[in-house]
């Protein structure tokens, strides 16, 4: 399973985060929130300075790109935990 993180952060911001935190997986930048909008995950004006950002959401896709598991939290403090996502990934064909 391949994890991919997506946010409105610029590539440089994500690069710093990745380096500092030691993450090895892919980080993608969507500064204009185009993909975030396409996935209907826009949290308008919720950024620190009123920018449009993504609401937290996790999608597990199978190899053909079909959604197998979704987590749309109701509280942005509460995101999916790694165990949950690993458990969901085990069910992939």
């Amino acid at each position: 399973m391949r994890p991919v993180a997506i946010s409105v952060d610029a590539p440089e911001v994500s690069r710093d985060l990745r380096r500092k935190a030691g993450y090895t997986y892919t980080f993608l930048s969507d500064p204009k929130a185009e993909v975030i909008r396409r996935y209907d995950l826009l949290h308008a004006g919720a950024g620190m300075n009123g920018q449009d950002i993504a609401r937290p959401a996790e999608f597990l896709l199978d190899a053909s790109g079909v959604v197998r598991w979704v987590n749309l939290t109701e509280d942005y403090r509460v995101r999916a935990r790694p165990e949950q996502m690993i458990e969901a990934a085990k069910a992939l064909p």
Binding site: A5, P11, A46, A54
Partner: protein, 153 residues
């Protein structure tokens, strides 16, 4: 009657400090899932703080000849209630104000294709993420986990 020195009502100040600590440490404990999903450590601080304040206020108003703190206790008690209110507002209301996302891809649907730059500014497509081999196994992944996050803006 001789005026005796009334004792310092430390419960009031400790209670207020506990309430402040419970509120101020919310971002700290939000870093760990075990104290984030339900902020029980913060609640413990707040409950302890309010209990101390109640104790202090009972002393201040019940035994005013022995303990000080009628005025300070009223002010600190009010401030603590405001802190508690702000805490509850954030935890039970503010962080739950999320858009409905009714149009988000559902189970069984194909996730929409996209192309976005990675941290090296190389464009990466969803189809490439689904098909390109993983570096560890050199086989294509069983799946892709898309994690949308708020970011640091």
């Amino acid at each position: 009657m001789a005026i005796t020195e009334r004792r310092w009502n430390w419960h009031l100040w400790a209670g207020f400090l506990f309430c402040l600590a419970g509120f101020a440490t919310l971002p700290l404990f939000a870093r760990f899932p075990v104290t984030r999903d339900v902020p029980w450590v913060n609640f413990l601080f707040l409950v302890a703080g309010l209990a101390l304040l109640v104790l202090g206020l009972r002393r201040a108003f019940g035994q005013p000849e022995q303990y000080r703190g009628k005025i300070a206790g009223s002010i600190l008690g009010t401030l603590s209630l405001l802190v508690l209110g702000a805490f509850c507002f954030i935890v039970f209301y503010q962080t739950r104000q999320l858009p409905a996302s009714g149009g988000a891809p559902r189970i069984g649907q194909t996730a929409p294709e996209f192309v976005l730059p990675d941290t090296d500014n190389h464009p990466v497509s969803l189809s490439a993420l689904l098909s390109s081999p993983l570096s560890q196994t050199r086989t294509s992944p069983k799946g892709v986990l898309l994690v949308f996050y708020r970011g640091y803006w």
